[in-house]
Symmetry: C2
Subunit: 212 residues, 2 copies
DNA sequence: TAGATTGTTAATCGATTAACAATC
DNA sequence: TAGATTGTTAATCGATTAACAATC
């Protein structure tokens, strides 16, 4: 066994931690120095015990009666979610969504740095989007391997998703952030996270049906 | 009690149904007419009993030995997720992301029709994005109410999220699809669905840390 | 000290998985 | 008919919630 085994964090916890971070940033801007689990819980309409259990995972201890040091907690969450570790990524697809993603400066905060974009439109190859060069997708495998790229952001139409995912996988990519509204197949060990805009929208529409 | 009470669908089911739909569309394109829960489950690396349980919610019955009629199932999911019911929506924020969302023709498939955009940049007011007029955000409450708009899509920077959400709420909106990387406060009864791009990215990065 | 909040242990809840009879 | 698949009931698992002692 040569890889370090880390106890996997429950998925719900992992999805809540970024929310805590958002709340903490808001509180910090208001000058708050120490924050209790109750405060965070109230902001998000969650249970305070749940918040404390989640915080346990990031290895931060609080002080009875006072709560958690807000700076310490913010940094610990950032470290835990790996935001302090800037990862270089390839963007595949430079259509509307790809263009928006390339221009989204915030990603740097979350440790993602898009260093190249790929598009099979010959008119786009050789140009740049938001200062990022647009290259031929056929170059993905070779470039990804030589540059040790670990994340690919997939923002192509559904029909083109699998073939471009395959190019990324061929290049030794470890994780794919999939914005295409389709399921892609990847070998075991490759992490595929679906951004799932349409699932999110469906969820909203169904909730509205159930309530009104 | 004057509102129809519908048994709420478990959230995990609601998040999986759009995935089933994607798989079914792919299978249908390959000419498949009848599909078993096992087939769907294998495509998504899920359990077939779970798939059957989820399908129960959409009120479709299958045939032992054969499975489910693919067209019937696709339509039932679309109906259940309310995709067949085109809802008009306002888009707030016409920056990079807003621009991409306005141009994302696929949303119509999922029953969302963006009919107006709002931006507080005076240079943008009066122009159009992808054929959609850009208006002054101050007009949101009045217009939303008069046009009976039920969904607001929030694609503004974090700092501007709450104030624009408030305008939508003032206009009687029922649901907010929030793309801003911040939590917004809304009164009870208003559904807020966070698109949570950053949460999705964090999730991917953490998974990579845990595996490698 | 008194009281608010943490951290932990136990109880509950709900979703997933297993087992299996019904059915085409 | 035999066998694959559904639909259902029961068992398991894991996450949430409740209870409470420890602590500053």
């Amino acid at each position: 066994m040569n890889t370090v085994q880390i106890k996997p964090t429950p998925e719900p916890t992992l999805r809540r931690l970024p929310l805590y971070h958002q709340v903490l940033i808001q509180l910090k801007e208001r000058g708050v120095k120490e924050v209790s689990s109750t405060t965070i819980a109230n902001e998000l309409k969650l249970d305070s015990v749940q918040v404390r259990k989640d915080i346990e995972h990031v290895q931060i201890v609080g002080k009875p009666r006072i709560g958690f040091n807000i700076d310490e907690l913010i940094l610990a969450i950032e470290k835990y979610l790996n935001w302090d570790n800037l990862t270089e990524a390839f963007l595949v697809g430079s259509g509307h969504l790809g263009f928006a993603l390339a221009g989204y400066k915030n990603f740097a905060k979350y440790g993602l740095n898009i260093i190249a974009a790929f598009d099979n439109d010959p008119e786009k190859i050789g140009t740049t989007v938001h200062g990022i060069p647009v290259l031929d997708p056929l170059k993905i495998p070779d470039l990804a391997r030589r540059m040790h790229i670990h994340i690919g952001v997939l923002a192509v139409p559904a029909e083109a998703a699998q073939e471009n995912a395959d190019l990324l996988i061929e290049g030794g990519i470890k994780g794919i952030w999939n914005f295409a509204p389709t399921q892609i197949k990847a070998p075991f060990g490759i992490v595929v996270e679906n951004a799932q805009l349409t699932a999110s929208l469906s969820f909203l529409k169904r909730k509205l049906t159930e309530q009104h």
